[in-house]
Amino acid sequence: MRRDNLWLSCLALPAGAFFAAFFLLPLARLFLVGGGVIAYASILTDRTYVSSLIVTLALAAATTGATLIISGIAGVFLQRNAFLGRDALIAMLTLPLAFPGVVVGFLVIVLAGRQGLIGDVTVALTGERVVFAYSMAGLFMGYVYFSIPRTILTVMATAEKLDPRLEEAARSLGAAPWQVLRDCIIPGLKPALLSAGAICFATAMGAFGTAFTLATRINVLAMVIYTEFTLQANIALAAALSFVLGAVTWAVLAAARTAAGGTVAAAG
């Protein structure tokens, strides 16, 4: 087995060559077309782009927070309790795992659009039609929608490994339910929450399909890049913005991986 190294290098070659030719080289090109350090500095001082970056970051952070709370509650509940229909519930909650963003955008329209279910219900209840699919709230709803399945899977996998004796001990020592939650459950879930949260954040940063379907005037970074590229044909600026978006996203993932101690890679 000592002399396998030659063969191993041969096996690594195709993937390495493909990756270098179609990812590393194009990304380097993207960086250069973006126009160097000065162009990047000018993006970071332009109010439109800075505000777009802030909106995108805020939306991604809000999505991550909401998804973690929702999936945390549902995931721990499903892992802890056995009841009739549990498997069906898990199946429903993880079905949209790989729905593309465009389709999720359409589902948001079906729920909260002009002919949507929420509109129908609110008309029946209050006489006024509530329509929020085409606003920031609709985009937020879409992002939470496609983040929930993956996060629930990660939470459930980790909740399985939590030691229930720890919580029993806390309870017998007189801890209230919220104290058990704060001191036992959340710390135990922390690696899962960090890794799932990082993936959720990264996806929300770069998601384009949902915003595209909702066709709103929300200036999340992905939409700004798309508009600059296709409508304004401002390729250098689109390249620079994409590079910034890619770098910020990758940095967040790397930071979360460091904090979680290498578990983020396992969740993607």
Partner: protein, 267 residues
């Protein structure tokens, strides 16, 4: 005990609400694709007219998506499985760097990757206008999932002991690879394959920039339909997409379900 009961039902209600949030719009959109007039409601009757219209006008996008997904699967198997094996064998620092690099196409938004590909290879007309251009993007995006899925199984089965056993019996590199390593990580290859096909069939972010009018895929067609067509047709198109992707997702769920008897991995 009573207190726990209240907590249980509160959590159950919450979980039911979340699953309703995920499933109700799927059912509504499926119904919309089969309803004569969605504004009037289901009372206007059910019809296959919209589905037929979509099938007539857009079925080429469905076949193209399936073709690209299968080609993508072949590429990720050829590139990804060997790469995973190399990463499993070399636990050196360099291998860690490679692993990190390989995950990058997932971290970097598809829009950025697509733009980079167009800037670098967009001038090669024949390549740019063929489906191969989209295929390259899909392979980039799905390769990390194949590598990770196979690598996870390889790291879990104590490859080293198995291979040393085979080597001590005189098996050379190829014999070990074909008769010991690959049969033992079938589960990982299968899980990775399902993931790759599902992601490729649904990929939009990159494909929207990479496609040309003659190389539209299903999600690209959906994007078009949502922007320009009436709700019933868009829903019927979505319905066809669900027919394609839901079986894949259900198969993935079955595969991911932890098997009850422990120690029967790799069967």
């Amino acid at each position: 005990v009573r207190r726990k009961g209240v907590l249980f039902f509160a959590q159950l209600a919450f979980t039911l609400l979340v699953s309703a949030f995920l499933i109700v719009p799927v059912i509504l959109s499926m119904l919309a694709g089969l309803t004569v007039n969605y504004l009037v409601g289901i009372g206007s009757g059910l019809t296959l007219r919209w589905v037929a219209e979509v099938w007539g006008g857009y079925r080429d996008t469905i076949f193209r998506s399936i073709l690209i997904a299968l080609a993508c699967l072949a590429c990720t198997l050829l590139l990804g499985v060997p790469a995973a094996y190399v990463l499993a064998r070399c636990r050196a620092a360099l291998a860690r760097v490679l692993e990190e690099l390989l995950v990058m196409p997932v971290a970097v938004p598809g829009l950025a990757t697509a733009l980079a590909l167009i800037l670098t290879y967009g001038a090669y007309g024949g390549f740019r206008t063929s489906f191969l251009f989209i295929l390259v993007g899909h392979v980039l995006f799905t390769l990390p999932f194949m590598v990770r899925s196979v690598l996870a199984v390889m790291l879990a089965i104590d490859l080293r002991t198995l291979e040393e056993g085979a080597a001590s019996l005189g098996a050379n590199f190829h014999q070990r690879l074909w008769h010991v390593v690959l049969p033992n990580c079938r589960a990982g290859v299968l899980a990775g394959s399902l993931m790759v096909v599902t992601l490729s069939v649904g990929e939009f972010n990159m494909t929207w920039l990479l496609h040309t009018p003659l190389t539209k895929t299903l999600p690209v067609g959906l994007g078009d339909a949502y922007a320009s067509l009436r709700l019933e047709i868009a829903s019927a198109y979505t319905l066809l997409f669900f027919v394609l992707i839901v079986p894949l997702l259900l198969a993935m769920q079955r595969l991911a379900r932890p098997r009850a008897p422990a120690g029967r991995q790799g069967e």
